[in-house]
Symmetry: C2
Subunit: 247 residues, 2 copies
DNA sequence: CGTGAGCTTGACTTGTTTCAACCAACGTGG
DNA sequence: CCACGTTGGTTGAAACAAGTCAAGCTCACG
């Protein structure tokens, strides 16, 4: 089954070689080619593997991040928290995602990174990546694609939060996740692993947990989606897209 | 006076040399150094100057943008428009701003660019910039600083739209603009040129024109700001910051 | 067995939108 | 020079979307 966790050897010894075995690798560090190049250019010893348990914060806002992290397995989220506790999730990180392209260029992290499920990730030395970026045109191209992709996603988030109603936002969020998972071969038909709690959704779409619950109940009643046992299936994709509305 | 429009020769003949005379140049293509390098590396003939009248759209969503644009003078905005007319302004562009760093890497523009005042801008050939990026480490550093800055701004926008109330959002917007103008030496004390109409503010903070009007009226009543004749002065910066709330 | 995290539901409050009318400033053309 | 339409701003009343508060339920976990 596609949605099953795939296993990557975690011990450092296996080093970058294991990336070749990673089923998401081809979508990895940007749609395709790239990290093969990157891995080849870096000594195996420069790459570190890590694991974070579910529900734990991986980095806090403002912390210095010495190495550039890529998610190998599990779901995580980048978020900003206001002093009074209000929180906004900026993006969900799926296997193969660079945590943030900005981290290639600067060490200060604007936002915290929180594990949603257990997360396995891998970090690369920033200096080496920057050097490789100069040397390898296709790596450069790949990173620029990531950058464009990130800015596109944050633009979409802005219009969601600024100009769309609750149902639209949530429908869009579900469709976007499904889309991203499908590209990674992590959808089984219209069904996906769905480890998000309602409070994750609420923080991602800028609503209250209660209101998210209501909207989801409405979706279920309308037979748009079915959610149980940490798995979501889209029953009526067209209708859901209609709720999510046009560009 | 600082807020006065500064004049840059518009005819191509004067080429990049005129950039040296531009008072915002030092904040330019990112806080400092960079474009000097860029200008030096590019033939004068490769740089084109343009002017757009106030209230006109410069590029529409989805249009192919062949050359990388930098704002020289005036205010512009990048925005996304939904098919039903709802609009979200993603950022205001001030003199010295690269329209979007993503345009260095890709030709498709996700969002439209609209002139607010009359805008003078300058475009550079994408290929040359990419080449210069490889050759000149400090240009590369500068562009990465722009990229981080852009992603920081869009993160702040997201938390504003997702998690803050109307007054907070508007106060933040004003403070951010003041901050950016101050870095450009375009503030006279606490007073700035303020060409924005209420509908620009509404589209930027994700509210209705009417509600923006109400909040601004409230601000005026509370003697936080004064707006007249397309100019805004912050009467009580501390109080305004208090309204804008903590990080 | 108890505790706490997550979800659901209902009643009530608040913030924001919608609709509508009206005013002032401005530019345009007769 | 005036009549006129347009654009931008203000105000008020009513409708609506989302937030808050509160209670109760399930389930996993120690």
């Amino acid at each position: 089954m596609n949605a099953t966790p795939h296993d990557i050897p975690t011990n450092r010894a296996n080093g970058p070689a294991s990336c070749g075995a990673c089923p998401v690798f081809s979508n990895n560090l940007c749609n395709g080619l790239t990290q093969a190049a990157l891995a080849a250019a870096l000594p195996a010893s420069a790459i570190h593997d890590h694991t974070a348990p579910a529900r734990r914060s991986i980095w806090r806002e403002g912390e210095t991040v010495e190495r550039v992290p890529v998610i190998c397995q599990g779901w995580a989220a980048t978020a900003i928290t206001l002093s009074d506790g209000r929180r906004q999730i900026l993006s969900f990180l799926l296997p193969g995602d660079l945590v943030s392209a900005a981290l290639i260029f600067q060490t200060a992290s604007q936002c915290s990174v929180d594990a949603i499920t257990e997360v396995r990730y891998r970090t690369f030395p920033r200096g080496d990546i920057k050097a490789a970026l100069r040397a390898q045109p296709d790596l450069f191209a790949a990173v620029s694609r990531i950058l464009s992709g990130e800015s596109m996603r944050s633009d979409r988030l802005a219009i969601d939060l600024g100009r769309r109603g609750a149902a639209e936002r949530i429908a869009n969020m579900i469709l976007n996740l499904a889309e991203r998972l499908r590209r990674r071969d992590m959808m089984a038909g219209e069904t996906m692993d769905f480890p998000l709690r309602q409070h994750h959704i609420a923080d991602a779409v800028g609503l209250t947990v209660v209101h998210v619950g209501n909207v989801l109940a409405e979706f279920r009643r309308a037979r748009l989606v079915e959610i149980n046992d940490r798995s979501l299936t889209i029953l009526d994709p067209d209708a859901l897209r209609r709720v999510a509305e046009a560009v």
